[in-house]
Symmetry: C2
Subunit: 345 residues, 2 copies
């Protein structure tokens, strides 16, 4: 019966006991197997240099043998750090967030953090609730396009590190696109095509970035002696874009700058359905360069930003104790088929 050594194998015995109590192996189990104190196990696994190579090896072997994984809850209880980062989104189904989520998830994973996400569905109430729910479990929070009042945000920031995306609040860090650069390019592009009268299709009233874009567009248009009007507020969705067409027609402009690609797409769809040719009768542009913008016909001219880079930057900065506000993320005009020469009056 020489094969039966497994019964004498101390590891097997411990494993059996672990299984019996229906849990996972702990540092006590490892300590027993390795013949050391639990605290030594903790150190061997957690602090590289502070233990002799020999015992470290023993411990590691035992841990491997028992398939040990630290209990993140127990660690968090002791250290106060959960190694989790919360990401609060207004609307998961808006393609802009894909890139943000991916960038954030990667940066988090690289730093050994886990990303937990919550969606507010464009509702301030849901958002407050979601944050409330997330806050105790995370070490830090990314608030993307939040609708919260500045005071609420400041309040949260007193508890945990917070970073804002697409919004600025005094005293809170934020990752922002370089709106200026892309908008200058865009207006030069439109001016070059002969457009003299342009509308900005605004996003929701609560959108900080929409207001920011509008004021930049306003200044740039005035500087170029173009007529500019703001139409809004609108829902930042395809439906919002569709619903805005009548007001766009009424404004008798030759070009429309939508607050985001979704609205631009909706506007184009509605225009197509009533027989307005784009770009021949109306030029349309958006922001973000989401998935779908180059799919639509004609493909959308838009001011793109690297959303994945934005998501990545958000969590990297959150994790960096000596983080300084960096330059805004570059944006660039992507000229496609939805803009063309202004129709002759």
């Amino acid at each position: 019966m020489t094969v039966q050594m497994s019964e004498d194998d101390p590891a097997e015995a411990i494993l059996a006991r672990v299984h019996a109590r229906g849990g996972a192996p702990t540092i006590y189990d490892i300590a027993e197997l390795a013949g050391v104190n639990p605290s030594t196990v903790s150190r061997a696994l957690g602090k590289p240099g502070r233990i002799s190579a020999a015992t470290a090896a023993k411990v590691r072997a035992a841990a491997e043998r028992l398939d040990f994984r630290v209990n993140p809850m127990a660690r968090a209880l002791q250290t106060g750090k959960t190694k989790m980062i919360g990401l609060v989104l207004a609307d998961i189904t808006n393609p802009v967030v894909f890139g943000i989520v991916r960038g954030a998830e990667h940066a988090a994973a690289e730093a050994g953090y886990t990303l937990v996400i919550a969606e507010s569905q464009e509702s301030g109430e849901n958002e407050a609730e979601a944050i409330e729910r997330l806050l105790p479990s995370v070490d830090a929070l990314v608030l993307a396009t939040t609708r919260l009042a500045a005071s609420a945000i400041t309040g949260i920031a007193e508890h945990k590190p917070v970073i804002l995306m697409n919004r600025a609040v005094d005293g809170i860090r934020s990752v922002l696109p370089d709106v200026e650069a892309g908008i200058i390019e865009l207006l030069d592009h439109l001016a070059g095509l002969g457009h003299r009268s342009v509308a900005f299709l605004a996003g929701p009233d609560s959108s900080w970035i929409s207001a920011r874009r509008w004021s930049t567009i306003l200044a740039a248009a005035v500087a170029r002696d173009m007529a500019i009007v703001e139409i809004g507020p609108n829902a930042p969705t395809i439906a919002g874009g569709r619903a805005a067409l009548p007001r766009v027609r009424a404004a008798q402009v030759s070009a429309v700058i939508a607050y985001n690609d979704l609205m631009a797409i909706g506007l184009m769809q509605e225009a197509a359905s009533v027989g307005i040719p784009i770009p021949d009768r109306l030029s349309v542009t958006g922001f973000d360069d989401i998935f779908g913008s180059e799919l639509i016909s004609p493909p959308l001219t838009t001011v793109g930003a690297d959303l994945a880079a934005a998501g990545r930057q958000a969590v990297e900065r959150l994790l960096d104790p000596e983080d300084a506000q960096p330059a805004p993320l570059p944006t660039q005009l992507i000229v496609r088929g939805s803009t063309g020469p202004a129709p002759r009056a």
Copy 2:
């Protein structure tokens, strides 16, 4: 100095102490303020009926006053339940996942759970790593279109409840679309348009659902006396679809069923770039009805599924102890412009 009562307010004193130690209020703080034992606080907050209405009210008031929130880590350590659900995705930027994530997040939030997500980037190694990282912190796991070996999945399921999306493994629960129904509709549609020779653009070799779709299509095509060929494997992306065009042309079929919408879109883009008119020379269809499918020109005929419902069902079933495998999720053919009459030979 009557206004100075705050200094005598016991709540203020406790709050100050809490702030000084730099943490959050605990049930001990509440207990002190309410003049009861910590365990009573725990019960009052956790078990509705088991406490007298009077003390329950006292405790609640104190908790409110101190802005108390239970520490999820401490609770998890004691109960073994983290109230978190892990969602592992192959590719966050694939639009199919939007719906899944939204449905899963909502179902989780409704049940008081938090959704934590990880992305494997279509790599089995990353996936194993991500699961490894998530496993200790979650109560249950949703594996969406996983590439893991069946044995690995079974191994995970021994530790925590697992549910699969778009894949079936013996002994593991799964949420599956009713592939059959949609495919029957699709082939009837193509047959009605006169298509006699069709190709299936397969997904990756490791995709269970691709194999499932292929075998169903094969049987349905044979039953209709249509010629059918499988072309693949292909990357389940736009690039994968584009790259497949030469093989599609070589096959001299009049219609292509792509494994998913992304591939169908890629194929159409490539066809457009070499001047093949769709659907006049070639009909193209996909699966999933992702965002973008109706945007592209011509809009894509596809077998759609309610992805949000799928995501929702996944976490609801995960949380339901007496869950029985329900009927597969309904799918339906969505006829748009990318399919048309077969060209006359």
